[in-house]
């Protein structure tokens, strides 16, 4: 026995498992990006540098994802689209772009060269560069979209586990609240929340949570109810594990497959929702560039075919991002069924 203990003391674990590596990379991408968009002022003079480590991290993630999912072209296409926008989001401060908020030359057509400035995708009626605004806009959509979805997920998964695993009175309560929230039309709920709480990015997170968390809760609840009758849960119960341990350590890892797929789809829905909200003039406020805002501002002018690029460019951007999320979800589902 003692020899065995000695032996295991010397036994070293490998430095990092693949799952830990992916988690670390995601953090390196996510934390600076979030800080850059949400707390730009607080960063002070450090602001221009925080995004630098994220660039190689995005590339590394992309290479890993492509290698891992190479057998599904759907997933590869989806991941490529998403990673393209992610890469744009972290590199945009370092790209040689015109100032996205500064009126330069109004209504320059795509490819125009004026005052020594090249407007590759033209400029809008206030003279701001469309290319620059589109690329900068992706930061806001990605950061607020992903953050809102994540918060909705944390709340939804928590409530779903409570309802599904504890059942009984807890389940009744959680399901009832969920049903009440689900009975509101989504847009009404959004407008209600943003009007009561005020229009800001953080309130968008709350609005998205109110509308998405009940749906996530239902999915998780169903999965948890199915899973909790399995023997390994009983095995954990018979060794006296707490309900919290069983929910988080035993149940959650085994229902993550369908949840990851749903999360990708839901990122798409949330992006649509946020873009719609800004289009309606709710939520994120001007002047910072945002796709929904760009579409809204371009709408009256773009009736003229000549100026339709103002509408098309941000629309294509938002479509490609949502398509990316949806294709990734499809690819993940395809891959999970293959094994």
């Amino acid at each position: 026995m003692n020899a065995l203990i000695q032996q295991t003391r010397e036994h070293r674990r490998s430095w990092m498992t693949p799952a830990q590596l992916i988690g670390a990379l995601l953090l390196i991408v996510w934390v600076p990006l979030m800080a850059y968009v949400m707390f730009h002022q607080a960063l002070g003079i450090a602001a221009p540098y925080v995004l630098l480590p994220s660039v190689p991290a995005v590339l590394a993630l992309y290479v890993m994802a492509i290698y891992h999912w190479r057998e599904s072209w759907v997933a590869v296409l989806g991941v490529t689209l998403v990673c393209f926008w992610l890469l744009v989001a972290v590199t945009v401060p370092y790209l040689p772009l015109l100032d996205p908020n500064k009126p330069l030359v109004p209504l320059a057509l795509p490819g125009a060269l004026k005052h020594g400035m090249s407007f590759m995708l033209g400029s809008d009626m206030r003279g701001r560069d469309v290319l620059s605004r589109t690329l900068w806009g992706c930061q806001r959509v990605l950061v607020w979209g992903i953050t809102a979805t994540s918060v909705a997920y944390v709340v939804g998964v928590g409530l779903g586990l409570i309802g599904g695993y504890l059942s009984g009175w807890w389940d009744e309560a959680v399901t009832f609240v969920g049903n009440v929230l689900l009975s509101f039309p989504v847009m009404v709920l959004f407008i209600l929340v943003l009007n009561v709480l005020g229009q800001s990015g953080f309130n968008i997170i709350i609005a998205v949570t109110f509308s998405s968390a009940p749906i996530i809760m239902r999915i998780v609840r169903g999965l948890a109810m199915q899973e909790k009758s399995r023997d390994y849960i009983q095995a954990a119960q018979t060794r006296g594990e707490s309900a919290l341990w069983i929910m988080v350590m035993e149940l959650l890892p085994n229902i993550r497959g369908p949840l990851i797929v749903d999360a990708c789809l839901r990122l798409g829905y949330t992006t649509v929702a946020i873009t719609t909200l800004t289009f309606l003039g709710l939520g994120l406020q001007p002047p910072d560039p945002d796709w929904g805002l760009m579409i809204k501002e371009a709408a009256p002018v773009a009736l003229l075919w000549k100026y339709s690029y103002m509408l098309l460019v941000p629309s294509l951007a938002v479509t490609s991002l949502i398509l990316g999320f949806n294709l990734t979800a499809d690819g993940l589902r395809e891959m999970s069924q293959r094994d």
Partner: protein, 688 residues
Amino acid sequence: MSVTFRSRSDDTPILECRNLSVTYSGRRGDVPAVVDFNLTLMRGEAHGLVGESGCGKSTIALAIMRYLGVSGRITGGQILFQGRDLLSLDAAELRQVRGADIAMIYQEPMASLNPSLTIGEQLIEVPMCHEAVSRREATKRARAMLERVRLADGDRMMRSYPHQLSGGQQQRIVIAMALLSHPKLLLLDEPTTALDVTVEAGIVDLIRDISAEFGTSMLYISHNLGLVRETCDRMTVMYCGQPVEVGRVQSVFSRMRHPYTRGLFAAIPSLGADKNTRPLTAIAGQLPAPGERPAGCAFGPRCASFVAGRCDQGTIPLAKVDALTGHVSRCVRVDEIDWLAEPPPREQRSTDVLSESVVSVSALTKRYQQVSANDGLSFEVNRGETVALVGESGCGKSTFARILMGLVQATSGSVTLSRVELSQLPVTKRSMKTIRSLQMIFQNPFDTLNPSHTIGAQIARVIRRLGIERDEARIRARVLELLDLVKLPRQFADRRPRQLSGGQKQRVGIARAFAGKPAVVVADEPVSALDVSVQAAITELLIDMQRREGTTLLFISHDLSVVRYLADRVVVMYLGQIMEQGRTQEVFAPPYHPYTEALLAAVPVADQNMLKRKVLLGGEMPSASQPPPGCRFSTRCSYRISGVCDVLAPPNQEFASGHRIACHLPREHLLAMQPVFREASQKTDYVS
């Protein structure tokens, strides 16, 4: 005995497979599932296909039906049905053959029935569709067929929906549905595996009579040697997609000429022996992974008579054992191996049982609303002893385990573990000492481990949680030690459950249960989901672990042969009550409780030396929400005394010390009962 020679008028076989090969193509390339399979099935003949999971027996049935799906493909050979090549038929012809000439019966009857149509509608459809008869005529035929599959109360059956029937009734309906189209060939894929043993006995009886009555040929697929012996005329033993021994059932059972067949037989417990007199012998090694078939004899690496240079080269042909009956074996050394040799004698073992009660159950009752799942259970379990709770599904044995483990609470009565009252104490309120001394092994190996965590992490969690070790290195060392004890390689600590086979997972389950050195281990059907040869290994491991640790084992099972083998004492349950309890030898010999007698007679026996008395068990198990008054078994008992058994609760009659039978029958009557099993006088050359 079913094995009777039937005269045949027609010389064309109903079904003939010639050198059939089937391959599944997957992501990792092509995997041969069936290789060089030959079969000749005559009219009215029943052919058994035996083997463990993954041996290709179901694939053969699917190939005959041409149901292989997208990944499966017939790569060689022919399938002739009444001389017609099935592989050359187009979709329309195939549909005709499938419905009218070949019918298939699957393991799960519920999956073959449409839940939203009545039984009547589903049955009537068959003659209407295949023979275009009138609705009235079809109804008449369906009604008549219900009687021929021995379903009482046919009119009510016709109006019922599938979910209103029991599993046995459903399977009879499926058989009736198959027979309504007068098939020439019936493919039965484990038709009784999902059923209880007494229900199984009824279905087997029916299946046996079908070929005699309807002249239907049958291909009977099963993993159970005993069932094949009782139902079939000829049999094929499959291993790794290849037939290894083919012949008449009698011939194969009395002169096993392939090491695998012998291995299978040695791995099943016989009702005549227990763990102390004839230890089970598991087949060494494991099934080769699909696609990694060894060269030469596929069974070579696991065979005790393996000779390098001969067994591992070329293709091994089927060698004749008996030309007269067509008994062949795929073994190059068939003429060299001394088949009569006694297996090496194993040490005689004995169990030390202290007469100190560990678990004590008295008048334990559990009600779920109307259903009484446990009703007045009383028995004792002594230290170091193995006590088996036996009964069919719905008898309340698992409910008892859940009460003992603290997952549900009893309605009344008491269970004590070392004098600590547990019946009302949920597991979350139990002391660590109680939790540690009471652990459980679960039934389903594919469910027992958390798929997301490594084996090592799961065992380590138990050690940490139960507070056995605190130091990380010591925990790790204990994990490795436990893996050694359950005979798994240490590298398995870093593997995940999906990389393990069913038997290996169950070993981990055992390691986990024994990690805290428990005083009592509850094993809920720990081997019933495993293959025969794996079952033997796991059963032996359980016995080993129990002896080493001096653990008390509470073994819950429906399999009487395993119980006979493993248990020191047996508690027979029916509908939540104890019918009979006592030492194993006493329960398995007269005097019997009439229910025990019926249970014993229902066990399929693979041993040629055992003769079995037929005992009829009528009716269906009553619903637990409306148990019959008086003796709960009275509705099905052939000895029922009207006016007594169905009115009064039966008294407990004590025979030998501790052997109690709850029955109204006079003592003399019980004592005069004949044994269900008897050694045959005619000896065969197989010595186990």
